[in-house]
Symmetry: C2
Subunit: 274 residues, 2 copies
Amino acid sequence: MLRVAICAPSRAITYDIADRVKALAADYPAINLDFHAQCFETQGHFAGSDAVRLAALVECANDESYGAVWAARGGYGAARVVEDALTQFGPSAATKIYLAYSDGGTLLAGLYKRGIGQVVHAPMPSDIGRAGGEEAVGRTLEYLSGAANGLESSLDARPVAAFNLMTLAMLCGTSLMPDLAGHVVLVEEVAEHLYAVDRLFFHVMPHLKGIAGLRLGRVNDVPINDIDFAQSAEQIARHWCARNSIPFLGLADIGHDVANKIVPFGLAGRGVAQ
Amino acid sequence: MLRVAICAPSRAITYDIADRVKALAADYPAINLDFHAQCFETQGHFAGSDAVRLAALVECANDESYGAVWAARGGYGAARVVEDALTQFGPSAATKIYLAYSDGGTLLAGLYKRGIGQVVHAPMPSDIGRAGGEEAVGRTLEYLSGAANGLESSLDARPVAAFNLMTLAMLCGTSLMPDLAGHVVLVEEVAEHLYAVDRLFFHVMPHLKGIAGLRLGRVNDVPINDIDFAQSAEQIARHWCARNSIPFLGLADIGHDVANKIVPFGLAGRGVAQ
């Protein structure tokens, strides 16, 4: 039995979301989900104050009875607590699987930089709120049950990392930014104008020198601008890869949607497919 | 007579905007405005292709008959051309005044990093499109005519720089990012959620180590989010300054509005007030 602690370093979820995820998880006998009460707290934008979110994250990571820590939701907030939380992670934290994406990539980055645990880009409990969201959440539950069928299909012999592009951009140059040299880096974006996506690529590329290459996930829910950008997200990614002599390796099956696949950082964590 | 070349490294302006600025400039006999034809070109989002915008910028900077180069408008695009443009700037470029703000801060940053010319955060021709925009544009015209009454009032014996926060964030770690150690850094923002402002401060602060302090300009047109951030922009700025041991020096009279004041980078360029 893998016990999974769920906390919310960024925004809160509702009890209804947790109930629906627990109902779905009843079909996965190899795992047991434990939603920390902090998931449902709110203080302004966040799932509780910085101190409350930090304490819950540290508690989950350091509790020996848990084998995995799963971020309940993204939405911004992890950047306010992860640096301090990591300094409080003990030996038990190093043995766990950590799952998140979107703003949760801030936690994944900091853990990966420090070599703590197995870091996994994966759907989160909040995804159950999407139309057909059981597919997304079920993918993470299957992964935690030992299945490898939810892995992003391009994973090869090279180490890999997956990020929301804005989240990655905000990590560049901070204490949480891992060394991604030699990695295939997958990026996705949501709800950003294409000019902003272009701007983000301008920014992140100098921080990705030495990576093995870049793959572009889905760029979803692009807002309507007063002027059409007239270039696709793929054209944008190819432009900035070429300009920075970084191989563009094609598309990636990740994004803010129910098809979002699982990407264990590095080379480990690929389950039975390994 | 100061001859001012106007080009558009980012987005285009209309002939109507140029006509209104020229009409206003008729009251300033010490300066002559010359709108480059490139200002009115469009290719998708941009004021012409990257090659066209780059060529116009280089042409204006290298033309000995001009004493100043003024960006017509922001809106994103300078990041695609400034790095290459600067490599083509000749001796004449070093003697000029460069004026812009918002996305034009990308040009200002690159120039300032290389010590080329006098770099000035100032209203742009496109500001005439705002209600009461003559006040903003007139402020730049007065500055170019030798007046110092449009300077931001907090300027003191320390060198200074002023940026749109998102623009500055995208510059961090790139070849265009100047060394701002010892500087008072003024930042402003527009049309970003407060959670995004918080995220931007998380990101830029490690890149501002050693600055003399930070001043917060206006954070305008914050979109309505599905949840209130519950902290003001000033609270956000104070939080991240405190966390990074950077002095918060108070507010700054800059922003995407007609009251936006003039900030010559460094210590020079303060006109008769100096």
